[in-house]
C-alpha cells in the first residue's frame, strides 16, 4: 500500500494536500445520538476543497484508512457513522468505495460495520449509511436501542 499523506490540524478539522496539490478535509462531527446510553458518536466525512477535477490518487485511500484506524485506536468506545448522500445520485458508489476501504481499516476483526440503506418515503430519496464500532467495547444492543429495531445481519 502507498504511503498516506500527512494530516495537519486546521480550524477544527484535518487537512491533507495531495501530490497534485488538491486539498482534502477530513471532518468529524460530534453528535449526542448515543449520549443517553453512555457512548460518544461521530459522523465522519471527507471532501476536496473547492470543486476540483479529481483523479485517482493511490495515496488518498491509505490516508483515509489510516485516519479510521487512528480514530478507533484512540476512541475504542466511540461509534462512527458514515452517511452517503443521494444529492448527486452517487450514494451507492460512495458506499461501495467506503466498504472497500473499510476492509483495510478493520484487519483485526474487532471493528464491525453495519451497512444500511434508508428510504426517505416523504421525499422519495435513498441514503446509504454505515455504523462502525469496536465490538469489544460496544454491544450490538446499543445500536438496536438507538434504531429501535432488531439488527440481524452485520459485517466484520
Amino acid at each position: 500500500m502507498q504511503n498516506p499523506y500527512n494530516l495537519r490540524e486546521e480550524d477544527g478539522d484535518f487537512v491533507f494536500i495531495t501530490d497534485l496539490g488538491l486539498e482534502y478535509r477530513i471532518i468529524f462531527q460530534k453528535y449526542n445520538a448515543f449520549d443517553d446510553l453512555g457512548y460518544y458518536s461521530y459522523e465522519f466525512s471527507f471532501y476536496p476543497v473547492g470543486k476540483p477535477e479529481t483523479a485517482y490518487d493511490a495515496r488518498v485511500k491509505p490516508t483515509i484508512v489510516n485516519s479510521l484506524q487512528t480514530f478507533f485506536n484512540q476512541n475504542p468506545d466511540s461509534i462512527l457513522i458514515y452517511i452517503c448522500d443521494s444529492m448527486d445520485s452517487r450514494a451507492r458508489e460512495r458506499s461501495m468505495l467506503f466498504n472497500r476501504w473499510f476492509r483495510d481499516a478493520s484487519s483485526s476483526g474487532e471493528i464491525i460495520k453495519l451497512n444500511r440503506k434508508i428510504y426517505d418515503t416523504q421525499n422519495d430519496l435513498v441514503y446509504y449509511f454505515a455504523i462502525v464500532f469496536n465490538q469489544n467495547y460496544i454491544p450490538i444492543s446499543i445500536l438496536e436501542a438507538f434504531l429501535e429495531t432488531e439488527i440481524e445481519n452485520y459485517d466484520k
Binding site: 462531527q29 471532501y47 480514530f71 451497512n115 426517505d120 418515503t121 429501535e148
Partner: protein
C-alpha cells in the same frame, strides 16, 4: 418516514426506525450537505457551530 434495510441481503425485511433515530439521521444529512457546500465555496466552517450547533471534533 424513514425505512431501513440491509443492502447486502436481498431477503432483508425493510423496517421503520424510531423517531429519535430518524431525527438524528435527518439532522446529520442536513449538516453534511451544508458542510459540503461550505467546503466547496471555501467558507469558514466555524460559522456552522453558531448557526446550526454543529460540533466539530478532533478525535485523532
Amino acid at each position: 418516514m424513514y425505512i431501513i434495510t440491509n443492502p447486502d441481503k436481498s431477503d432483508a425485511q425493510p423496517k421503520r426506525i424510531g423517531a429519535k433515530a430518524e431525527s438524528f439521521i435527518k439532522k446529520m444529512i442536513e449538516d453534511k450537505r451544508i458542510i459540503r457546500t461550505y467546503i466547496e465555496e471555501g467558507k469558514d466552517l466555524s460559522e456552522l457551530t453558531q448557526k446550526r450547533g454543529i460540533r466539530f471534533a478532533k478525535p485523532l
